[in-house]
Amino acid sequence: MTILFLFMALFALMFIGVPVAVSLGLAGSVTIMLFSPDSVRSLAIKLFETSEHYTLLAIPFFLLAGSFMTTGGVARRLIDFANASVGHIRGGLAIGAVMACMLFAALSGSSPATVAAVGSIAIAGMVRSGYPQPFAAGIVTNAGTLGILIPPSVVMVVYAAATETSVGKLFMAGVVPGVLLGLVLMVAIYVIAVKKNLPALPKATPRQWFAAARKAAWGLLLMVIILGGIYSGMFTPTEAAAVAAVYSAFIALFVYKDMTFKEAPKVVLEAAKLSIMLMFIIANAMLFAHVLTTEQIPQQITAMVLEAGLQPWMFLLAVNILLLIAGAFMEPSAIILILAPILFPIAIELGVDPIHLGIIMVVNMEIGLITPPVGLNLFVTSAVTGMSLAEVIRAAMPWLMLLLGFLVLVTYVPSISMGLPNLLGM
């Protein structure tokens, strides 16, 4: 009864256009006031606790780093480097765009940011060279989702905070699936490019390649700092994020000099706004999840699932379907915070590794970012290209099938995600 009320209230509020964060918080608060002996005061305490969560502190830092890199010209140099590396292959600009998305994803933790940073330059470039616009837009919309799979990743930080797993281990687990998905996209593009006879760039001379690599090196070095720092134990992920933020501000202002000091506050404000928006959703989703826990919903569902004698593969299938539906309607961080506490205990009982479950959830969230009605990447691509939302959806659809196939692979071959962290002995 309580739970029915909780979810009904959430959906009713969301669909009349109340902001997602307010819907989550209000549905949770009203349920607590009506059905639970907790005082109203506990609502405020619950909201405030979010800001004391050390792991979540990484989010504003990573977003700040991302803002500086988008504005500071890192994206453009990564694209040049990618084109110098793979541009001579048939369909080279498109393959280069995927590679640029992968590289940018390894520096930034957000998918919409990746689409915006790479898409605003790469799509126009492809169209100029004679690629059909829907093809170019579809590729970047999809490859941009790698932003949350290739570490660092804001969504992984949220999952780690919700389930108290290790952020570092999750980051490492995302590397192989992320690179694999990038390669799958590249191969698919190559096949299409050969069939449709899409153009290739002239091969870059070694000298040109080195020049491009040298210019991009400052950005690429950040990857080493983040992953190396976390892996070697020099930094916690939160500290690595703070270092990344200061470092990217430094290269934007002093090395690339693509932006002036005057612009810096604007970039910080933009990152702050994104952080506030995301953290406001996270704080309220935590309040909402708190209601679920006090009502013992995770325990009840776990008992039900075990009683039904569900096999792990059936459970994982159910998880994927649930997450795909949820992903189409909700913001990724909120989904993770609400569903992870429910799915986590079941996974443990069934012997599914929590890190593996995390990667499955992240890949689902990637797909959620390109499925309407609430697919942030679709909106970003539409804004970047000036195509209508319907056109972008149609352009992204064929590639979505590829992502779904990849989801099945990641779900049922755990070693793809678990291989690297196990190898590193994490």
């Binding site: 509020l13 969301m14 009349i16 256009g17 109340v18 902001p19 997602v20 964060a21 307010v22 918080g25 209000l26 608060s29 109203v40 005061r41 609502l43 405020a44 305490i45 909201l47 405030f48 800001s51 004391e52 050390y54 502190l57 504003p60 830092f61 700040l64 803002s67 504005t71 500071g72 010209g73 994206a75 453009r76 919409p112 915006a116 940073a117 605003s120 930094f235 500290e239 270092v243 200061v246 693509d258 932006m259 612009e263 506050p265 970039v267 910080v268 404000l269 702050a272 706004k273 952080s275 506030i276 406001f280 309607f329 913001e331 609430v374 942030l376 909106f379 970003v380 804004a383 970047v384």
Partner: protein, 218 residues
Amino acid sequence: MQQLRLIWDRFEEGFIVFLLTAMTLVTFVYVILNNFYTFFYSLGDRFEASSVGLSEFFFTIGDFILDMAQDMTWSNALTKALFAWLLFFGIAYGVRVGGHIGIDALVKLASKKTQKYIALLACVISLGYAALITVASFEWVSALFEVNIGADDLGQFGIKQWHITLIVPLGFTLVFIRFAEILVRILRNEQIGLGLADEAADAMKLSEQKTNNKEEQQ
């Protein structure tokens, strides 16, 4: 009045920028100090055989940095406090600039007139939420005010718990005011929806800035 609002808006933005910058720098400095002393210790080790003076020199620097890092136990607590202020102070800013995402796909299907009524309802609901949290957090903060306990790791500087948590009722009061402004604008037909965000437009702003820069360069 208009002037005052403008000053407040600028202050709001400036303060948000200050909070995020401060928390980033505090964490950054702490990390650097925390990793640098090992660097100087290893330098000291390396020169131990060849030059005692040089080795002593590096050890002294290492000790100095280690002391600084150890003195900075407050950095974590300070970062969290700044984070809390950023979050709860910033929510109202998010409301002002339409930064909070929501789903308006369904609402947009309705006629203009119905849209207005739905927006009014959504706005009143949001006002109710802001009021609820303001009252709830005010109760909490006044309880903390009465016990007057020092904040973890920051108590030595005379910072009490209620100093930090005070931002929750303050912030949500601001949120209430911002939603009230929106309510007035909807009633006056100056605005149709809550001005929910378009993340897309935001992302664009960043890359637009970038393209502008590029053009300026060329």
